[in-house]
Structure formats: structure tokens, C-alpha cells
């Protein structure tokens, strides 16, 4: 403690809460809040995934009753998914998966768990804000869930909710108003979390921990928080304007020709607002996964992260670039050719930093000593699927190829591989890896590997087949593609995709079983089961309420594996001082 240079580390330890409510419900403890986010996210992820099963069924078997529960869900059509319900399904699937599944699991759970533990802090800097962040999210979840059951049905304007379809004339139900409120609240939750994450990382790093001594997971989460703090307000602005357009008769997004007031608004304005947020959002979702992957590759290749500093800088570069490329979502609205060219070039420049950290990942594996356990399989799966998704992004970023592919299944395949599959596999890697730290028990390896293969293979098959669908001309969000003659030959391929989708969904129940079973009956975990050196593994599993008895001092980088000067083991803790290996304390 002699090099204790930050006045933010108070040496007094808050007393542990004793009542059930203060311990588990209104908890200020980042570890409990992380678990709350995790359970919340898993619950919603299953609902969202079930909706995708309905979607896949409708596309592959039009007019056929959904098996088993179909009659229960759609009694008036004897189990057949009706077209208006189909539009609600893809809207809610997108919304739920982005705002209620991936965001809580990857950012809410792993962010909360990892940031204080990995930087050597006792808790987040604003514990109350952290607690509020979860409960705003919970309120948002309640509103969103309620919106599924209101008369007129849930929102049906797509997750992007473009006016004028989302205006009250064309979507009169209260479902969409509730949708707007719920997404606004979810955004508020992310914003509260983001403020907390940014400040915690800046102020509460353990003595000796410079920015480049932070694990790359923290880099990913930190950059995500910065993007969230900058761009959630833009989304919020769009949502509020749309809400008052719908309810109070303003015409921000209504063209003069269709607004009853005759005042001139612009529906394209919403698209600008939405995508200024929407493009950073895909990086918000994938950056933590990149960080986790960068760390885990090093941990299980037993080798320092290759070019870790370059990886961190390229993540920074991508975060900056992500702010100025959103126009590629709007090429077909008829942007001016100058803007189009500019957005194309900026978008394509992203491939430089992406290429750098991608090659760094391969560099980490190069001449490593690779341990193939479940977290590592998921990590490698993330690398593979992100490679696929990232490369196909080039087709969509350039205006010339975008002209063929805009709003086709090619887009669906591309963004699912990047922001759905890659970030989900990344979250799974994180959950399998940090589960012992969260619950003090290990997840079952065998079930984990079954889960991996049942997720990975179908995901790749499903979304690569969608590239074929897209090039064949199948456009998005159509209930029955076979209305079109030029799409009729795609029914076989659509069934093929759907069967793999059902397999992937079944695979998630293996995870659910493993998760619940291991929480209570898994093998007890030691403090450091994976033999890695980041700070969270220096404390017991699960950590005590105050995390660290004494705040650690950092002498080493996070990825010091297989250092030839250390003879008895292949890892070094960040907080241990080894003469001739560690750098001198500052």
C-alpha cells in the first residue's frame, strides 16, 4: 500500500448488507447487480430466440400451423402465424435481442462484474447509479413485456421504427408507444451504466495500473461505455420526437403531403437520428466481445496478447470511425453522391483497424500452447464468425454493391454474424470463463462443448445460407416470400435454414440446464481455476463483499504468460512483484 496514490480508494470497507432485500434486490454490490443483469438477459434472450423460431417457421412453412404450441398462441387461426403477428415478431425479436438480451448480458453483467474486479476496485464509483441502472432496465423490461399484450398488439414497425410507418396513422396501437417508452428506459439504463463505467475506469484503477495495463476486456467495455454515453442521447431524441409526433400532433417526421396540420417535417430526419446512434450501437455490442476475445485468446494460448497496445488503439480507432459512417444504412434514400462517396470511404477505412486486431488475434495463437476448453472454443468461434461477418461488411459498405443487396437477406446474414452470433458467442465465452468467479462453481465442460457445437455450426450454416438468399434477391421482413415467382425456388433453402435454427435453439437448453445445475451442484471452483494473472483471480471465488482485503498494486501487464524467466509456472499475477520480471513500482 506504500504506493497508494489515488485518493479515490478509501480504505474503509462498507459493511456487508444483511437483509434479503438489501443483499439481493436493492443491491449496491456490483457483483449482485451483474447477476441480476445476467438472469434478466438470459430470460429475455430465450423469449427473443423463441420469437425467431416463429419467424423461421413462418418463412419456411407458410400457412402451416406452428407445431406443439401453435394452437395455444394463435387459437383464431388454428396455429398458423398470421401476417400482422409476423411483423410484430420480427420487430420484437430485434428489439429484445439488442436491448434486452445482448446489452444486459455483455455490458450489464460482464461490465459490472469485470470492471471493478479487473482494475482492483472495491466497487463501482457510483454504486447507487449502478443499482438504478438495473432497476430502470427492469422497469423497461416490464413495459416491453406488457406491450406484447395490449390491444392492437406489440410494435410492428421493425426494430428501426422508421416513420412514417411508426406514426400513429399507420400504427395506431399503444404497443408502439410502450415500445418507445421501453427503449427509452433501456437507453437510460445504459446511459447510467456508461457514466459509471467511464468514471470507474478513469478513477479507480489500482495503483500502478496504467491504461495499457488494463485487460483488453476493460478496454472494450470502456470504449463501449463512451459510445453509449455519446450516442444514447441521440437515440433518445429521436424516440421522444417520434413519441410526441404520435401523441401530441407535432410533425417532426411527417411530410406536408400527409400531415393533417399541413406542416412540413421529414421522415428521413429520423433515419439520420436513428443511425447516428444505430451504427455506433453495433460497435457498442461487439466491442466488449472483442475485448473478451483478445484476453481469452491470450489466456488460453498461454502467451502474451500479440500487439496488445495496437489492439487497444485499433479498438479506439474503430470507436471513432463508427461515429462517422452511419450513412451507409441510407444509401438508397438518395443521399447526395458526395455524401455517399464520403460515407463509403469512411466505412471501408474501418477495415484497417479491424484487420490489425484480427491479425493480432491470429498472432496471439501463433506459437502458443493452446488449451481447448469451453471458453476457448467459444472464443475461437467468435473469431471465426466475426471474420465471416466482418468481411461481408465490405459488400454493404460500398455503395456500388450495396445497391444490389440493400434490405435483402444478405444484410440479415451479415449483421447477425457480427452483432448477434459473434457477440453472443463472445458473451458465452465470458460467461463460461467468469462463471466460477460469479458463483464459485465451474460449469460442466462436457455440456459446454455440446452447447458450443450446437450453437456454432447451426449459426454459421444459417447465416451463410442467408448470403445466398440475399444474392438470389430475397428481401427482408416478408411473411411469405413465395408470393414472388422469383423467390419460389428458395423454399427448400429456407427450410434448410429453419431446421438449423431449431437445432441452435434446442442447443440453448443445454446451456440453461448446465447453468442452473452448475450454479447449485457444479464442481467447487478454486480462486484461480484457469491459472491466469488478472486481478479478479487473486481473490476467492466468489469474491467477498468488498472484493479486495487490501487494494492490490499492479506490477505486471495482464497477459504475462510463459515468461522464460519464471520457472515454476507459466503465468504471473498482475499484482505480484518478481525481481527481474516485473517493472519497478512507480
Amino acid at each position: 500500500m506504500s504506493h497508494h496514490d489515488s485518493h479515490d480508494h478509501d480504505d474503509h470497507i462498507h459493511p456487508e448488507p444483511t437483509t434479503f432485500i438489501s443483499k439481493y434486490i436493492i443491491s449496491y454490490d456490483h457483483k449482485v447487480i451483474a447477476k441480476q443483469f445476467l438472469f434478466f438477459g438470459i430470460l429475455w434472450a430465450f423469449l427473443g430466440a423463441f420469437m425467431s423460431m416463429l419467424i423461421r417457421w413462418a418463412v419456411a412453412y407458410p400457412g402451416v400451423a406452428f407445431p406443439v404450441v401453435g394452437k395455444l398462441l394463435y387459437p383464431h387461426t388454428e396455429g398458423v402465424i398470421p401476417p400482422d403477428n409476423y411483423t410484430m415478431l420480427f420487430t420484437m425479436h430485434g428489439t429484445i435481442m439488442i436491448f434486452f438480451a445482448i446489452t444486459p448480458i455483455l455490458i450489464g453483467c460482464l461490465g459490472n462484474l469485470l470492471i471493478p474486479l479487473m482494475i482492483g476496485a472495491r466497487d463501482m464509483i457510483f454504486p447507487w447509479l449502478n443499482m438504478a441502472s438495473f432497476w430502470v432496465m427492469a422497469a423497461s423490461g416490464i413495459v416491453m413485456f406488457y406491450s406484447l399484450f395490449v390491444p392492437g398488439g406489440a410494435s410492428a414497425a421493425g426494430w428501426t421504427s422508421y416513420p412514417t410507418l411508426a406514426n400513429s396513422q399507420w400504427l395506431p396501437g399503444s404497443g408502439h408507444d410502450l415500445w418507445l417508452i421501453a427503449v427509452f428506459l433501456a437507453g437510460t439504463s445504459s446511459l447510467l451504466g456508461a457514466i459509471n463505467y467511464i468514471t470507474t475506469v478513469i478513477r479507480l484503477r489500482a495503483p500502478g495500473m496504467g491504461f495499457f495495463d488494463m485487460p483488453l476486456s476493460i478496454w472494450g467495455l470502456w470504449l463501449t461505455a463512451i459510445l453509449n454515453a455519446l450516442f444514447i442521447p441521440v437515440l433518445a431524441a429521436g424516440l421522444i420526437l417520434l413519441y410526441i409526433d404520435r401523441n401530441f400532433g407535432t410533425t417532426f417526421f411527417m411530410a406536408a403531403s400527409i400531415s393533417q396540420a399541413g406542416t412540413q417535417g421529414d421522415p428521413i430526419l429520423y433515419q439520420h437520428l436513428f443511425w447516428i446512434f444505430g451504427h455506433p450501437e453495433v460497435y457498442i455490442i461487439i466491442l466488449p466481445a472483442w475485448g473478451i476475445v483478445s484476453d481469452l485468446l491470450s489466456f488460453f494460448a498461454r502467451k502474451p496478447a500479440f500487439g496488445a497496445k495496437a489492439t487497444a488503439w485499433s479498438m479506439v480507432a474503430i470507436s471513432v470511425l463508427s461515429m462517422v459512417v452511419y450513412g451507409h444504412h441510407m444509401f438508397t434514400t438518395g443521399l447526395s453522391p458526395l455524401l455517399t462517396t464520403a460515407f463509403t470511404m469512411l466505412t471501408l477505412v474501418i477495415s484497417i483497424p479491424s484487420g490489425i486486431f484480427f491479425l493480432n488475434w491470429l498472432g496471439t495463437l501463433w506459437r502458443g500452447s493452446i488449451v481447448l476448453n469451453t471458453p476457448m472454443w467459444f472464443t475461437l468461434g467468435t473469431v471465426f464468425t466475426f471474420g465471416l461477418g466482418g468481411l461481408t461488411g465490405l459488400h454493404l459498405g460500398a455503395v456500388s454493391t450495396n445497391m444490389l443487396l440493400h434490405n435483402t437477406y444478405f444484410v440479415v446474414g451479415h449483421f447477425h454474424l457480427t452483432m448477434a452470433v459473434a457477440s453472443l458467442l463472445g458473451s458465452f465465452a465470458g460467461v463460461y470463463f467468469w462463471f466460477p468467479k460469479m458463483f464459485g462453481r465451474m460449469l460442466n465442460e462436457r455440456l459446454g462443448k455440446i452447447h458450443f457445437w450446437m450453437t456454432f455450426i447451426p449459426s454459421v450454416v444459417i447465416f451463410c445460407s442467408m448470403f445466398i438468399l440475399g444474392y438470389a434477391g430475397m428481401h427482408r421482413r416478408i411473411y411469405n416470400p413465395y408470393e414472388y415467382n422469383f423467390l419460389q425456388h428458395l423454399m427448400g433453402l429456407n427450410r434448410f435454414i429453419s431446421i438449423f435454427a431449431f437445432t441452435a435453439f434446442a442447443g440453448q437448453f443445454v446451456f440453461l440446464y448446465n447453468f442452473v445445475w452448475s450454479m447449485f451442484s457444479g464442481v467447487k471452483s478454486p480462486a484461480n481455476p484457469w491459472k491466469v494473472g488478472t486481478l479478479e483471480w487473486t481473490v476467492p471465488s466468489p469474491p467477498p463483499h468488498h472484493n479486495f482485503d487490501t487494494i492490490p498494486v499492479v506490477y505486471n501487464g495482464p497477459h504475462e504468460f510463459s515468461n522464460p524467466k519464471v520457472k515454476d509456472r507459466d503465468w504471473i499475477s498482475q499484482s505480484e512483484f518478481i525481481e527481474g520480471v516485473s517493472r519497478q513500482p512507480v
Binding site: 421522415p267 502467451k303 447526395s336 502458443g368 475461437l380 468481411l391 434477391g473 433453402l493
Partner: protein
């Protein structure tokens, strides 16, 4: 040995997944011809030649995979570069992907943890490491990004948003609504807003071999104008005129789709495109202009939609305010 075990384990699990898929075989077995034929009969499209360009329908069983799943055949004179660029980008990204996935697979096997093997301690900061990384990154950048950038500079200026002008251009106004397509032709006098304007619903007739210039504005929500054979798309936005053009080198019947989610019946917001021989087109216009003039009713405001034709050199998107007549 471990390599074998890894491969074995992979195949065992992969077989499991495929077996699960095979178990659901009965679901999959129903051949597309059944579903496809049934749906074809639902067509109520009046079709004199009796032939719609349905892909897959007339294909013999020998049709190769790439033929079966190709985009519908391009019938324009100009949009081939977009298609070529797609093919080029796909192959190049595929090669890089194979290199990447190959490296991933090879590293997993040859650098697996095993007794007597230790990891090589490096932070990847040597100049050799940086050199290899930079070279590979630049290879991707030059072979893909530079090509795509140049094409994206060239194509919008050459043809995507370079609208044709001149007497041979066929001008048509398009106004989609939930869930139909309205088309308006200037008629025999070549002027919009006159008595001989021809209106059609869900049917676009165009002559072969002449450039067709469309100006599009939505009546209600945002729609998207998509002819798969043209390889280009444009949004239809309320309050904004967007422009689009194409030409057709083949006569026949084709389909126009709405690609932008526009409500419950979005999936069947379909129009038909008939490419006619120029003579047939002219006589169709003549006949219908006469008919329109004979039936013209100045009280019927509903049919008199339209806007002042935006000049051909105006930007791709033009606010309607400035063009209200």
C-alpha cells in the same frame, strides 16, 4: 494423437447436429415443387404469353447450385459492373477468409497444448511482427477497399444517379401506397397533368431498349422500389421525390417488389413489369391515351395525383415543397 482426437470430437459433434437435422427430415422432405406449384396457381396475374420469369420453376434437376441460387438474370445494359464488383468482392473476401480460417485451424492443431511444448514468449512488438501485420492488412486494404472505393466513386456518377435525358427517355411517375403501386404515364402528348395521362395500378409497361426514368414519391409510409433484374434499388419516401432509371434489353414479364417494411401486407406488395417491343408499347400508349382523354373527368381529383417533373440534373433526392405545382 491429440489432433486426431480433436478432429474426431469435431466430427462426432458435427454428425450429431446433422443427425438432429436429418431426424426432422419429414419436415424438409416436402419438395419445393409442391409448395411452389400450389402458390403459382394462386397467381391472378393476367399473363398473355403465359410465362413469368420464375427462377427455379423450369430448372431441370441438373441445374447447378450456383445457377439455381443466382440472382435473376440482369436485363439492363449498364448495371453489369455492380454485379461484377459483387462477384469480385465475394471471391476476394472468400480467399481472405480461407486464409484466416486456415490459419486459425492450423494453429489450433499444431500449437495445441501438449507435454514438452511451451508457448513462445513474445508481445508481438518486433519490427518483423509489425511488418507482417502491416503487409497483410495493406493487402486487404488495397485488393478490396481501394477497388470498392474507386467503384463507388465511378458507378454513382456513371449510371446509378446519372439520369438519362432526351426525347427517347420514357418518363413515368410512381406513387406507392399501402399496399399497391400507382404508375402514371404522360400519355401521347408527353406532358404530365394533362387529360391523356395514363394511370395503371400494379402494372408497369415499358418499351425494350429505351431508357426509363422514374420519379417516385410515396403516398403514405416509406416503400422501396426493387426490380431484382436491375440490380439497383431506391426508397419511396413521403414528401420527397426520389429518382431511378433503368433500361431493359429483353421483353417479358417480371416482378417489382417492395423491399422496405411497410406494414402487414408488405410481403405481397408486388407489381408486374412488362417489357414490350417498342411498337407494341407505342400502340398501347396511343390506345390508352385516347381512352384516358375520352374518359377524363376533371372532378375526379383522386386520379389526378402527380407533381412537377423534377429536372433531370436535380439531385437524387428533391424535397417536394420546391416542386409543388
Amino acid at each position: 494423437m491429440i489432433a486426431f482426437r480433436i478432429t474426431h470430437r469435431f466430427f462426432r459433434l458435427a454428425t450429431g447436429v446433422f443427425f438432429c437435422a436429418a431426424l426432422s427430415g419429414p419436415l424438409f422432405a416436402e419438395d419445393i415443387t409442391n409448395g411452389g406449384e400450389a402458390l403459382l396457381h394462386q397467381q391472378n396475374f393476367e399473363n398473355p404469353s403465359g410465362q413469368i420469369h420464375a427462377y427455379g420453376k423450369d430448372k431441370s434437376p441438373q441445374t447447378s447450385f450456383s445457377e439455381k441460387y443466382a440472382s435473376p438474370e440482369n436485363f439492363t445494359t449498364f448495371s453489369k459492373p455492380l454485379e461484377d464488383l459483387f462477384v469480385y468482392t465475394s471471391w476476394t473476401t472468400f480467399i481472405f477468409f480461407v486464409i484466416m480460417a486456415g490459419a486459425l485451424g492450423v494453429f489450433m492443431v499444431i500449437y495445441r497444448q501438449r507435454p514438452g511444448h511451451t508457448a513462445y514468449y513474445t508481445h508481438g512488438t518486433s519490427s518483423a511482427n509489425k511488418g507482417v501485420r502491416t503487409t497483410l492488412d495493406l493487402a486487404v486494404f488495397i485488393s478490396l477497399d481501394i477497388v470498392l472505393m474507386l467503384a463507388s466513386w465511378r458507378d454513382p456518377r456513371n449510371f446509378i444517379w446519372n439520369y438519362p435525358d432526351g426525347p427517347e427517355v420514357v418518363k413515368i411517375m410512381v406513387m406507392p401506397q399501402q399496399w399497391a403501386w400507382n404508375f402514371k404515364y404522360p400519355g401521347i402528348d408527353g406532358k404530365f397533368g394533362t387529360e391523356d395521362d395514363i394511370d395503371t395500378i400494379n402494372e408497369l409497361r415499358v418499351p425494350k431498349g429505351r431508357p426509363i426514368s422514374l420519379q417516385i414519391k410515396s403516398k403514405d409510409v416509406i416503400h422501396g422500389f426493387f426490380i431484382p433484374q436491375v440490380r439497383m434499388q431506391i426508397d419511396a419516401i413521403p414528401g420527397v421525390i426520389t429518382k431511378f432509371w433503368f433500361d431493359a434489353t429483353k421483353t417479358g414479364n417480371y416482378e417489382i417488389a417492395c423491399y422496405h417494411h411497410c406494414g402487414t401486407a408488405h410481403y405481397k406488395m408486388k407489381a408486374f413489369l412488362k417489357v414490350l417491343e417498342p411498337n407494341d408499347y407505342e400502340s398501347w400508349i396511343q390506345e390508352n391515351s385516347d381512352w384516358a382523354r375520352a374518359k377524363f373527368d376533371p372532378e375526379d381529383k383522386f386520379i389526378q395525383w402527380g407533381w412537377r417533373w423534377a429536372p433531370d440534373n436535380a439531385p437524387a433526392k428533391t424535397a417536394v415543397n420546391n416542386l409543388r405545382r
